[in-house]
Symmetry: C2
Subunit: 343 residues, 2 copies
DNA sequence: CTGAAAGCGCTTACAG
DNA sequence: CTGAAAGCGCTTACAG
């Protein structure tokens, strides 16, 4: 590409025989500049194809009007929906989004966060990766006076703004639904327990058993079954038990639930009559499978909106004495074919 | 949030009784600085929790190490995959990604592009929105000496770097496959013809008819059927014809194909025996439907990789005499249940 | 209403 | 190997 000399406010000033100060003021629509010259300046800027250098402007103003987002994966429905939800709001306010993916890798996450600190972003929005539970890098964000908002997968011990789902309640409702549907041996596919969201989902599972006075069967709880493949693997193990489950709550994701469904289909086990299945996240495909999968909607876009609104609400709030806000969004159980026994 | 005074190179210099010049050199790992002082500087920087201000650095260097991406929707599989593919490469090179969504709205697209120009991004990567065919804003990008890479949905008349799919060939293969499968009346659900990709897909459709010497039936071509809803609507119209089609090529997307499948199921029409269905894009759900949907894989992640690599390859290439590169990725027909008549 | 000047935090050509 | 100085393009407190 050929290097193009960009028009600066000095070029405009020179052409008009005035100072850059006035040009700057006019371009910022300051009231303390003559209406006529303002018009002239704007017209000239347009003619010279002037574009403000945001870098310089932000450097001078000590802000960046940029929000950094760190998520495990961009190309996963839940996260891309949250981003879309964030963008919806930030765009209107003239803020930019810098996106980094951690790839579920703690080291890369640390690097992403550091890059964003260097960029002097005004806020970092993060959903932490599944590996590692060292949150020094997030503490570092706070130490630099950068706003930090965690969502979904949060480091609980860090006192920051948080936007989360009520995972306990959602899981409780899902399992209650299965119990009320007459399922007797309800298995749990759980996710990495270092992530609080997965701990909470297990908690909800156990809570439902307690509420209905049903004993928990330890052998029906499968660790670390949070991908389609691991979900399928866990299901095979479960179904080969002397007393196999008659329902499986794939608490980690619909992907995991899909693994369950695949195995059931392959083994000729009828869903929902012989095996009930409940997933999590309301991925778009969960509606399309046959039978469609009962799942939990997390209102991901709304969650993104909430994150962004929280940021703007907290801007300029210098009161550090109040405890950081935690906003909990109630997810919704979506009952579909995979658990409708008497449909 | 409390305002925190950040450590600058001057703070480090002062503490060490040297100049900022040396600090800067040390931090940039320049060879022309004493090894021992370099170590000391780095250690001190670390102690003071120094983070380079990338804004200032970039302003001085006249670059931003940032790439702007404008897509219609973040939360659409194809686009989020492309972004993931871009990020994979740019991340390694220390580049940041600023993401904007145009929401298929031309005005918002223009605004996004302008914001990115203001940000002094080094490159703008774009897949244009479906409405409007005025590309002045893209010309503007070039006029500012910013690299412009178009992908998938491109404005053909603009001479820029492009990464595209061979849509004609892919559609040709898809329709050929249907013809060879014995389907006689193959309908086309087409997308907005102001987007070249949809024109090309239609071209491939027509090309196949020609190659097999099959007459085109105009009434089987349905305009503007590029969402699930519009696909369903078009299908209802088609199936109520005196002579309905026995196959439908939803050239716009798998979403559209899904609409076809829904209608077929609702009307009790058997797929693939009574109606063949072929989609486009290999969305993750297309594998899961019953029957699974024959579709075309665009290698979206690879496409993202290609875009990023193209950028780095062209960096510093000052030769403006050569024509801008166009990289065409050959998509792959994925044959599944919805077209396997004798499976 | 307008100008002159300083400064945001860095980098780098120029001297020594 | 190190320093002094200029400058990237803006904004804004201070004068007038």
């Amino acid at each position: 590409m050929k290097k193009v000399k960009r028009t600066t406010i000095y070029d405009i000033a020179e052409k008009l025989g005035i100072t850059a100060s006035s040009v700057s003021r006019a371009l910022n629509n300051s009231s303390q500049v003559n209406e006529k010259t303002k018009e002239l300046i704007i017209k000239t800027a347009d003619e010279l194809n002037y574009k403000r250098n945001t870098l310089a402007s932000n450097l001078r103003k000590g802000q960046s009007k940029t929000i950094g987002v760190v998520i495990p994966r961009i190309n996963q429905n839940f996260f891309s929906n949250v981003i879309a939800g964030i963008e919806e709001i930030t765009y209107q306010k003239g803020y930019n989004l810098i996106i980094c993916q951690s790839d579920e890798d703690h080291d890369k996450e640390v690097q992403c966060v550091n890059t964003l600190i260097n960029q002097h972003v005004d806020c970092i929005v993060i959903s932490v990766s599944a590996d590692g539970n060292d949150y020094q890098h997030l503490q570092n964000v706070l130490d630099h006076g950068i706003q930090l908002i965690q969502f979904d997968r949060v480091a609980e011990e860090l006192e920051t703004l948080k936007v989360i789902n009520d995972n306990v309640q959602a899981s409780y409702e899902a399992v209650s639904h299965l119990i009320e549907g007459g399922y007797k041996r309800i298995a749990l596919l759980e996710g990495p327990q270092n992530l609080s969201i997965f701990k909470q989902r297990k908690e909800g599972y156990l809570k439902a058993f307690k509420a209905y006075n049903v004993p928990v069967i330890e052998e029906l709880i499968v660790e670390n079954a949070w991908t389609k493949e691991l979900g399928a693997l866990g299901t095979r193990k479960l179904l080969s038990l002397p007393q196999p489950p008659d329902a499986i709550f794939a608490s980690t994701s619909d992907f995991s639930a899909l693994g369950v469904l695949d195995v059931a289909n392959a083994m000729g086990i009828k869903v929902p009559s012989e095996l009930g299945i409940c997933g999590y996240a309301n991925e778009s495909f969960s509606e399309i499978t046959s039978p469609s999968i009962t799942t939990i909607d997390q209102f991901s876009i709304y969650m993104g909106n909430t994150v962004a609104n929280l940021f703007f609400q907290e801007i300029g709030n210098n009161d550090t004495t109040t405890k950081p806000k935690i906003i909990s969004i109630k997810p919704e159980l979506i009952i579909r074919g995979s658990t409708k026994r008497n449909g």
